[in-house]
Symmetry: C2
Subunit: 921 residues, 2 copies
């Protein structure tokens, strides 16, 4: 007996269910689940993702698959009482991809499969609709020819257009059944010419070719690009769903549509969707025709916005609620059932065949950050989910959207008064984007690569455009609805997006667009408001989001800020659940204050060298570096001391009552010196030394690999007087702040330790200095001494180091560099290629590489705690604000993470998620 | 009850024994052992090294120590029937350091302790020798004042010289007891002035001050420097030995001396030593007076060499054999007993007090490489030790000495005929050294640092000179014997050394020396022959050693080469015992051939890029780099292909029947391009491109941290065509060689892999190319595909990588760089300081850092074998020829090590030692 590869569904039951997404893909699992729920789905079966994995490993199918497919097909035939390939009563099927997670439009689909010269006649007779039958046949040849046989679509279009010309037909529907029959003949002839073989007539041959094509499409270019962008592993594979066809294009009593159980842009609790009469499913998603609203309310609103009278609307663009009230009622029941069952907002696809509703898909709907937060909180209020579940449903990017800037209302008012708002479309992706117009995805990529901000403007977008969409600040399309490709993909990317902006006339040739009297050329600035759908000429001023206005700027009251209120509620929950501390990386009192307002519970990394560059300090720093001897260095350091002390006073005050980790000088000294001859000359004059002397000094400090050079604690070992000065500045500041009655918790952090003796030596210097300062001031403060763990050797010998350290802070930026042997400064040349080729699924500088780096961190934590069980452990690399990395830190037993101020809420959220996930286990 | 800190010995028994070196130090353990053996040692006791460790941790002594010391002292009093501090019958003691391993002269010693204004009188009465008593007192004040109280020695010398002038005394012995009494008074007054307190009169106070000083001397500058040089951990600490004084300076029936049971320079089996009549021990070691030979044979030889008549010799410089025949007989018995007991050559110290022999020390004698090999093999022949033990006694440096160059006999003959051999001394350290003369240790350091070869010439050396000695090619002293400081230290360092070259008159002021008519100034070239003791004017030609002449040059027959014969015997034993394979790093057929002769069993690393630089190839390589597209690159690569193929053919032939691991291109491409404007211009002209274009290209390839940049397999990922060409060259060469009937085992090694997918991608390219080549040639060869493990991530994810790799080769050079975050190119600036400060006891680029890097390697080996149990594992970093690293590789389960050709014998030896040590466990 071979393994089970094929899972049936339909007729009120299924072999699979919603929990089997890994095996059946999202689409297959949910079709099965709907069947189990008694919701009408056309019968069919799913070939599991294991077959895809097997196929890529062995370039063949596993034994038993063919038999299982044929058996399943037989069952489907029985359920619909049709026969695959039967000339009298033919069963046609769709063949669709379906991965674990939705990858909209990225992989291939074939509809109407099973049609051929014989069955087309049967279909015509059976439906009593020869035109429908021949139209289906010609569509099939076109789709199969393109997707499976690899023939350019436009060539089919060309033949179609020729025929239309000959027949004097304006639109496709002008062609008669006879015309379409002729078209099918021409198509077949053309395929023979192109491929040197006949278009396959055997339905089984068609089926296997299509299955093969779907599996192959897992590795097409756009699917790979999508996976990279969403960090989907290459080895997941896709399932294949083979489903009995239902026809939304059988006449005016047929239709097809998509719907969301709540508004995916705002999260508002209202059923929402679009449909097309007499059409097949792909037509809605592709956004080629502007579809009609499902609810009467939406339909009226739409008409109003487009200046269409109620009469015209009713006759030409009725809502489904009016057009097919029974079907609408059934659909409402289905959506309610599904939302309640899945306990989340659903994205539905349906087809109405001659008045009968069929559900083709349900999945958890993609949503904007605003919608995600609103839906999660509403569902808690509705008692549908718990606060824990609400927390788990919010992604870091969702929060980012809430915190991202919006347009300045004043500036927008001005634009309005100047009549610069020249078009309006559907607000598919909220946000405020401003940029230069480009009309091609490739241009968006290119322009963005050279640092330009661009808005990508298209008639409609297609899967080929996703890289360009990702490069753009925002996306604007002339066609398509809220569920079109552009809308779905942009929301997924968190991009500002407006779709269906029908007023736009785009001229790709001239690279310009027109709306009313306004002409916008490539390169002109426009601004798009993803919250309202407004398209504005020129560059609009962007201001802080509600959250930032309330929290940071204090320019808005919480009671006037509904978005902020939701944000605050969520953060409150997050703080209730999380166990991991969240600190911030901040070098100034200002950043410290911002971070506090975002909820930071201390500073995890204060880089002292940033202070060295400010104002006149750099002069003293250079004096120190260029000093001939200890005496000279000490003199220069004495000048820096009061300045550093002042900085620390400010930071300690801003972080009153919270710990502040201050890292001692880290970068190699040559970073503080000028490098061009001109600058060197200038500095030499200033310092009263010769150009040659200075040039020599600069040269002598240069390093082949500065990342691996004389930096970090190596400086403190060579020049203990620097450590002395910094310790003095920190502790003098701490004492001064303490004397003002403010609680202060300095943590002195020694960077780049690779050997415990380095830390011991630096600790001696720090303790000696501390004793001096305490004696001089007649006052003491508690302080800790710890170290960065940013070299592999430090993690590997953490048991030794932890005997001297009171805390560890993993410097994962540097640790990634050394663990991977990858310089962040240089990797730009090949890292993109590595992501492209799937070597890394995610940039290791963005998210902690849990397999490699993670292993090293675990070793460091375990060894460290083995000799010092009370060791405080944190992270201060940029990974500290990246959700998957924060969760890793929680699981690995960290005490806190530290990240940039604006990432603090994201880290709080991720920390809460980690705690909840742990509890669930 | 407190721990035991104090161990008694004397009177035929002891509380310790020779196996307790860690606790009692070498000196203490061996004194105990001698006591147990019934050999006459003065009674005493040892304070353990644990007390030293405790002292450095707590800056105080452990509880119970004082009581134990006083109890032990009481026992010693009983044994010698004297009382410490008793004015009538005073016991005096010596207080000496003694670490686990001998650190000659590095730490402090105090003799005659317990003497004061009262006991000196008792001593005078008791010995009936007031002069001796007062001389001992003034010596004690001088030594204690210097060592314990920190007063400059020369100040005491000054007072002594003043007094001598006043009294008209020429030498010390001209001073009477009264004079010495006066001297003691002046010394005491001087001490009071210097330190503001009286010289301590309380013997117990003296004792504790001296104990403290000895512990403190563990961390004096020269002891630290010595530890660095010999990789002795700082935390071992020293023991303190407190021993009842015996006096070699009680008159002409008293003496002191040192001896070796075999010749430490040549290994010849003959008793050998020197003594001084009426002297204290330190006088011999310091080499201030030229001592007399112990045996009659040596005495006669010495006289002959110095042109001294038999009569004069007999009266003025008799041997101990003649002077004290009974004592000599006893000494011979003792040395035989000790050598037999310890089963190794011993280095002895003894004192004769009024005709009675006392042994003060025995330890395993330091020896030259020649001596080490000879003694080890002789002792096997004598049945004293097994071949395994012989192997364990030879160090890598010993072998190096055997393989090191010697003077060209022709050139030396010429020098002789030209009368350029201007002096002769004692051949204390064998070898052939030539260099410029310097007279100060600091100069030796400085000159060597700037690349000069120097010979350090001194009247005598002292512990302060060791850094200079280490920097010099060779050491030449005018005074001192075979057991003087210079001799012992130089032998330990493996330096060529001549001592006791009495003909030299050194003028430090003028910085010149004279011998007969020859004047040599600072900076003049001289050559010293450490095998004969000859000092030659000018730079003598150096030629290969016997071993190299026989093995590599073929210019000497084995039967004419006794050193080679011993070498070969040792290597035979090593090969019998070892389990680890030994390969070589070689890039050319020539190096491969040399390595084979040294016993390499294949190539562990063949760097293909070295070939890229040769001759016209660099031109094609540059074309490849500068090519605009794939086409251009392929064209250039096609030019390189036949050249690479030829190289591989040569190497495969030289390594017939052995595996050859070839690493694919590794360095970043910019290394192949010129960098100065001038060179760029030249190349641009050559290549027919503009200067600006080429300059831009060069700039664009520059990297901030090339070590972490676009190199290794990252090149092969970006440009698979390079991997293709190299694979083709390797396999085409292999097929050609195979067709000639020669066995060939290519192993293709992918460098700098950090992620298994990198290796997978490169493997695909290699296998595809191999298939093509095999088809084209109609012939196949077996080959392996493996990878370097040279990034921490590779070791951490070795389980994944091993599924694609057939072998791992640890590239410990790069792995050290990334694990330590230390660039080899830049570390020169601070690594010496790190060694100096004791952060690293040994340069991590020289020996594998077992604690940190070793941990990572172990992880890599364990993980690798966990998914691929048959994984072949080797090392190809430079550590592969360093003994401690080779042993680590054995213990960690490596299959082989690979090192440079001349290190192969050392690796074979170390591998054998590792196997024997394992078996012993």
């Amino acid at each position: 007996m071979s393994r089970k590869f094929v899972y049936l569904f339909g007729g009120g039951s299924a072999e699979g269910n919603a929990s089997m997404k890994d095996l059946l893909g999202g689409k297959g699992a949910n079709l099965a689940e709907m069947a189990n729920l008694g919701i009408p789905v056309p019968p069919g079966f799913t070939i599991s993702t294991e077959v895809c994995t097997y196929y890529y490993k062995n370039k063949s199918y596993p034994e038993g698959l063919e038999e299982q497919v044929l058996n399943a097909l037989k069952k489907v035939e029985e359920m619909v009482n049709k026969k695959f390939g039967d000339p009298e009563n033919p069963l046609l099927v769709s063949v669709r991809s379906g991965a674990r997670v939705s990858m909209p439009g990225m992989m291939d689909t074939v509809l109407n499969l099973g049609i051929n010269d014989e069955t087309v006649e049967g279909l015509a007779k059976l439906t009593n609709n020869p035109r429908f039958a021949w139209d289906s046949y010609r569509r099939f040849i076109q789709m199969f020819g393109n997707v499976v046989m690899g023939i350019d679509s436009s060539k089919f279009e060309h033949i179609l257009n020729e025929l239309k010309k000959e027949k004097g037909a304006k639109v496709d529907t002008d062609l008669t059944a006879e015309d379409l029959k002729e078209l099918v003949n021409r198509y077949k002839k053309f395929v023979r010419e192109e491929k040197g073989e006949d278009f396959p007539q055997d339905p089984y041959k068609q089926l296997w070719m299509a299955i093969n094509a779907v599996f192959e499409s897992w590795n097409n270019e756009r699917a790979i690009a999508y996976r990279r962008m969403h960090q989907i592993p290459d080895d997941w594979g896709t399932a294949v769903n083979i489903v009995a066809m239902v026809y939304g294009n059988m006449g005016d009593d047929s239709a097809t549509g998509v719907a969301f159980t709540r508004d995916p842009a705002t999260g508002k609790k209202k059923f929402f969707g679009e449909f097309l009469i007499n059409a097949q499913g792909e037509d809605v998603v592709a956004g080629i025709r502007t579809p009609q609203a499902i609810t009467l309310e939406d339909s009226r609103k739409w008409a109003e916005e487009h200046g269409i009278s109620e009469e015209e609307r009713k006759s030409k663009y009725p809502s489904l609620e009016e057009y097919m009230p029974e079907v609408y009622k059934e659909l409402v029941e289905v959506y309610k059932k599904l939302e309640k069952h899945y306990r989340d907002m659903q994205d539905l696809e349906f087809t109405i065949e001659r008045g009968k509703l069929w559900m083709l898909q349900t999945r958890t709907g993609k949503r904007t950050g605003f919608a995600a937060v609103n839906i999660a909180i509403d569902m808690v209020d509705e008692g549908l989910i718990t606060p824990e579940e609400a927390i788990l449903r919010i992604e870091g990017d969702h929060l980012t959207q809430l915190m991202n800037p919006i347009f300045d209302p004043e500036d927008k008012k001005k634009a309005k008064s100047e009549n610069r708002i020249f078009a309006k479309g559907l607000p598919a992706g909220p946000g405020a984007a401003t940029g230069k117009v480009v009309f091609f995805a490739e241009d968006a990529e290119e322009w963005a690569a050279r640092g330009e901000k661009v808005i990508l403007v298209r008639e409609e977008t297609s899967p080929e455009d996703i890289k360009g969409m990702n490069s753009a600040e925002g996306i604007l399309t002339a066609r398509g609805g809220m569920t079109s490709h552009a809308a779905v993909v942009a929301r997924g990317m968190g991009k500002t997006c407006i779709v269906g902006c029908g007023a736009l006339e785009i001229d790709y040739e001239k690279r310009e667009m027109k709306a009313k009297d306004t002409i916008i050329k490539e390169g002109d600035w426009i601004s798009i408001d993803g919250n309202t759908g407004e398209v504005i000429k020129g560059q609009l001023k962007v201001i802080p989001s509600e959250v930032v206005q309330v929290l940071i700027e204090g320019t808005l009251k919480p009671e006037d800020a509904p978005v902020y209120q939701k944000f605050a509620k969520l953060m409150k929950w997050a703080d209730d659940f999380r166990k991991l501390g969240v600190r911030t990386n901040a070098d100034t009192p200002k950043d410290s204050a911002v971070a506090r307002k975002f909820g930071a519970e201390g500073i995890g990394l204060c880089r002292t060298e940033h202070m060295f560059f400010e104002g006149e300090r750099i002069q003293a720093v250079r004096e120190m570096i260029l000093a001939e001897d200890l005496e000279g260095r000490k003199k220069a350091l004495a000048k820096i001391l009061p300045m550093q002390r002042e900085d620390f006073i400010g930071i300690f005050k801003a972080m009153a009552g919270f710990p502040v980790t201050i890292r001692l000088l880290d970068p190699p000294l040559h970073e503080f010196l000028p490098h061009t001859d001109e600058e060197i000359k200038e500095l030499a004059d200033e310092m009263g030394i010769t150009f040659d002397d200075l040039k020599n000094k600069v040269e002598s400090l240069k390093e082949m690999n500065p990342m691996l050079g004389h930096r970090g604690c190596r400086l403190g070992i060579s020049y203990p007087e620097i450590t002395e000065m910094q310790t003095r500045a920190i502790l003098e500041a701490a004492i001064e702040v303490k004397k003002e009655g403010i609680e202060v918790e300095p943590e002195i952090m020694v960077p780049l330790v690779g050997h415990y003796k380095e830390l011991e030596l630096q600790k001696e210097v720090i303790e000696k200095t501390a004793k001096e300062v305490f004696e001089e001031k007649g006052e003491e403060v508690d302080y800790l001494i710890g170290t960065m763990i940013e070299l592999p050797r430090a993690a590997l010998t953490a048991d030794e180091i932890a005997q001297t350290a009171q805390f560890f802070s993993f410097g994962t930026n540097d640790l990634t560099q050394t663990t991977f042997g990858l310089s962040r400064d240089d990797a730009g040349k090949f890292l993109p290629e590595y992501i492209e080729k799937g070597i890394y699924t995610v940039d290791p500088f963005v998210a902690i590489d849990q397999k490699g780096l993670g292993e090293l961190i675990k070793i460091g934590v375990e060894k460290g705690r083995s000799t010092n069980p009370n060791l405080k452990i944190g992270i201060c690399g940029e990974h500290g604000g990246e959700p998957s990395s924060v969760k890793f830190c929680h699981r690995t037993g960290f005490n806190y993470v530290s990240c940039s101020p604006y990432r603090v809420p994201i880290a709080r959220l991720a920390a809460a998620q980690a705690a909840i996930e742990e509890k669930k286990k």
